[in-house]
């Protein structure tokens, strides 16, 4: 067996060539990891937005709150259900809300992007314990005052405390900012529900968010509501409801990321092949000597393959290290499932890192295999004469 240090010394002997090969592989790994991190970040954000104990009710087949309509009569029937939790005063813990998309220009931009305006009732804060006021105050005159999420107030014109937003033929002053602990509500504007219904002529709710007195009752509650002929409604865990909203973009990112990485990796594999063939050609005499000393074909093959794997693994590590810095980058884009703006971060996970490393090793193996085979098949006499 040839000591592995032989391979490593060889890599450091040809610094320029080795560095370029490592760089090529690291670029591919960077793109591979980056697209997976983006899709992961979006999923994490949306899953975090749903509270584990909350239940979402929207109109049957409507997918999201944008399209959902629940009449006041239907909402009353749901609120009266025995499984719904109540506060000490006997009021059902149900947030009936109106959800409207409004177009506002982002800061430094002139074209409108959609932002969520949510009309809330007095249970809404209670059902979302991670939403807290961080600046200004709650509205006192709900007819002219609204509050905005942290991300909304930073990104959208008119959404910081003291600024004004226009909808429903009226101007509304932003009087407070809330932090939603990194959940999707950070990108929303909230107002009082009856004001939202008036402003948009919507005498209906978009969704009901509620707590059950006993979470184990979920299936029974769901069956009762969905089988009631008066209620054309869907009942979901809030987590599942939000997680489903990452579908279209995640699928797109996964497909595009895989296709691009595979084509891209072919380029890097060819790069590794060039390097390894050159390594074999430069060391023909050396290989002959090693063989003459008694090292077998197998150990020649192994040591060259090992060299290629070390190069590609270094590329993988550099690529992941570069991708790690993407964790600090925030992306803001329209969620194609809801047509509204969502801000999220790249998120590196152990699973992404390990699959990226495996991907880099595969590139090294594929790129190094043929050159290693050639090295192992050199005839001793010919190679010593070279």
């Amino acid at each position: 067996m040839i000591p592995p240090i032989y391979a490593i010394r060889n890599i450091s002997k040809h610094k320029v060539t080795s560095a370029m090969t490592v760089a090529g592989i690291s670029l591919v790994v960077f793109v591979f990891a980056g697209s997976a991190m983006l899709s992961n970040g979006l999923k994490e954000k949306l899953v975090a937005t749903g509270h584990p104990e909350n239940v979402s009710v929207i109109r049957k087949a409507s997918q999201t709150e944008v399209m959902s309509i629940i009449s006041y009569d239907q909402a009353q029937i749901v609120k009266a259900d025995q499984a719904v939790a109540r506060d000490p005063g006997g009021n059902p813990l149900v947030a009936n809300e109106v959800y409207v998309l409004i177009g506002l220009p982002k800061r430094g931009d002139t074209t409108d992007a959609n932002i969520v305006l949510r009309g809330i009732n007095d249970m809404s804060f209670r059902l979302r314990p991670n939403v807290k006021m961080i600046e200004g105050r709650m509205w006192q005159d709900p007819g002219s005052e609204i509050i905005a999420g942290r991300s909304a107030s930073e990104r959208y014109q008119g959404c910081a405390v003291g600024e004004k937003v226009r909808f429903g033929a009226r101007d509304w002053t932003v009087v407070g900012t809330f932090d939603a602990g990194g959940t999707g509500y950070d990108s929303e504007i909230w107002c009082e529900i009856t004001q939202a219904s008036d402003a948009f002529h919507r005498p209906v709710y978009s969704s009901l968010t509620l707590r059950l007195a006993d979470t184990t009752q979920f299936e029974a509650f769901k069956a009762r509501i969905e089988n009631d002929p008066r209620l054309p409604l869907d009942v979901k865990h809030e987590r599942d409801y939000y997680a489903a909203q990452s579908g279209t973009i995640s699928t797109f990112l996964n497909i595009a990321g895989t296709v691009i990485s595979v084509i891209f990796s072919l380029g890097a594999i060819v790069g590794a092949m060039i390097t390894m063939y050159a390594a074999v050609a430069n060391r023909t005499k050396e290989i002959g000597t090693l063989r003459a000393l008694g090292f077998g074909r197998m150990s020649i093959l192994t040591v060259f393959l090992f060299e290629s794997l070390v190069i590609s693994l270094s590329g993988g590590i550099v690529g992941i290290a570069a991708a790690y810095f993407l964790n600090f980058v925030q992306i803001s884009t329209t969620n194609w499932d809801t047509f509204s703006e969502i801000a999220f971060n790249f998120r590196l996970s152990a699973q992404i890192a390990s699959s990226a490393l495996i991907f880099s090793l595969v590139m090294g193996f594929v790129g190094g295999f043929l050159p290693a085979v050639r090295a192992s098949r050199l005839k001793i006499i010919d190679s010593l004469r070279a």
């Binding site: 320029v16 060539t17 370029m20 090969t21 760089a23 090529g24 670029l27 591919v28 960077f30 793109v31 980056g34 697209s35 983006l38 109109r59 049957k60 087949a61 409507s62 997918q63 944008v66 399209m67 409207v100 998309l101 409004i102 177009g103 074209t111 409108d112 992007a113 959609n114 429903g168 033929a169 948009f200 002529h201 005498p203 054309p232 279209t248 973009i249 797109f252 990112l253 595009a256 691009i260 084509i263 891209f264 072919l266 380029g267 890097a268 060819v270 790069g271 092949m273 060039i274 390097t275 063939y277 050159a278 050609a281 430069n282 992306i331 803001s332 884009t333 329209t334 194609w336 047509f339």
Partner: protein, 385 residues
């Protein structure tokens, strides 16, 4: 001419290495071209926009409806020659993954304002008479294997319930930028059912499309329309069809930026592959270069030889890559035609590839040239590798 021969001979010294380099470059060029083409296709909707069409929507956002009563009023405004309206239906065909755009429209005025949607006259007649009629794009029909006369059911997401439609006709685009994946049907069907099921939603449509007399007046006419509805409960926002299309395209802006970044990284890989090959060649030829210099060849001769070889390999890779690109893009275009219209390689992409190939070839030869010129003749002759 002798120089060219020397360059090609040099490139042919390590045939396997040159082939691999060309292959690597070709693959990277193809990947770069595919991404560019994808981005161009993304903007196909904006390219298809006509300058004499304006879109009027709710000022707050396009998800809010406008009263149908605006139709006659807008038509009175000076400069507006014709008007039609549409609404987004958003139904599910069997499974949510089978997404395609569905619009409820007024049959006659819609096809009058969009003459680039070509429908055979007899099918058009059936469609106008049929309350449940629909016209589907060729791409959509191919995707689901529909034919004229088929009945299909959509599950409403915005308008609840099951909706039965009959395919009365198939439209073709007048040019490749026209989206052939849309499904248009008679809005009267929706209106009829809303009257019974949800009277509060009767007489509300998604947007109006206006044909104006002079594209140069578009902003003035748009302003007149919007002023007409100032301070009403449904204020309007009127913009050119192109601006309207771009506001939808902007929904993917972060994704497009990401793809652009990736396409630049691919250029990085092309560079690394070529630079690696050229660096190897330079190392092998140190003593040979010193020998040529003793024969009287000057620095610029050597520079020309190295640069020439680099350009030769890069151009070869670029040509093979463009060939691959046009083949693969054709395949993708056929495979995706029913989902993603307008996937065709634009001439600018090819021009860009040529420019990139030449730039990279020059950049990749900087290090080898530097190395060849820096070595003293004596040292170069002494090198034994």
């Amino acid at each position: 001419m002798k120089v060219l021969k020397l360059i090609t001979r040099n490139a042919g010294r390590h045939k396997l290495r040159t082939y691999l380099t060309v292959l690597g470059l070709a693959l990277a060029v193809m990947a770069f071209g595919l991404i560019r083409t994808f981005i161009d296709a993304w903007y196909a909707g904006a390219r298809a926009a006509a300058p004499d069409r304006l879109v009027t929507r709710h000022a707050v956002s396009f998800t809010l409806p406008l009263p149908l009563a605006y139709k006659e009023q807008i038509l009175q405004i000076e400069g507006v020659k014709d008007i039609t309206y549409g609404t987004w239906f958003g139904g599910i065909y069997v499974d949510p993954r089978n997404f395609f755009p569905q619009f409820g429209v007024e049959p006659e005025s819609f096809f009058r304002i969009y003459p680039e949607y070509l429908v055979p006259p007899d099918q058009m007649q059936d469609f106008v008479r049929d309350r449940r009629g629909a016209i589907a794009g060729q791409g959509l029909v191919d995707r689901f294997g529909w034919k004229v006369g088929d009945q299909i059911t959509l599950i409403g997401t915005i308008y609840p319930g099951d909706w039965q439609f009959v395919i009365d006709g198939i439209y073709h685009g007048e040019n490749p930028d026209v989206d052939e994946t849309a499904f248009v049907f008679n809005y009267a069907y929706v209106e009829e059912r809303m009257k019974q099921e949800s009277p509060g939603r009767v007489g509300q449509i998604g947007w109006y499309v206006l044909r104006i007399d002079d594209p140069n007046n578009s902003s003035a006419i748009g302003a007149k329309v919007d002023a007409r509805y100032d301070n009403s409960w449904a204020e309007t926002k009127t913009e050119t069809e192109k601006e309207f299309a771009l506001s939808f395209i902007a929904m993917g802006d972060a994704i497009i930026i990401g793809l652009r970044v990736v396409s630049y990284l691919i250029i990085g890989v092309i560079f690394l592959v070529l630079a690696n090959t050229m660096a190897m060649a330079a190392r092998e030829r140190i003593s040979e270069n010193a020998f040529m210099r003793t024969l009287g060849f000057r620095g610029y001769h050597l520079t020309g030889l190295i640069l020439g070889e680099s350009i030769f390999v890069a151009v070869l890779g670029g040509i093979v890559g463009m060939g691959l690109l046009s083949l693969v893009a054709k395949g993708v275009e056929i495979a995706l035609s029913s989902y993603f219209p307008g996937f065709a390689v634009l001439p600018t992409t090819y021009i860009l590839v040529v420019i990139i190939a030449l730039t990279i070839a020059t950049a990749a030869s900087i290090f080898p040239v530097f190395r060849a010129l820096r070595v003293k003749i004596v040292d170069g002759l002494r090198v034994v590798d």
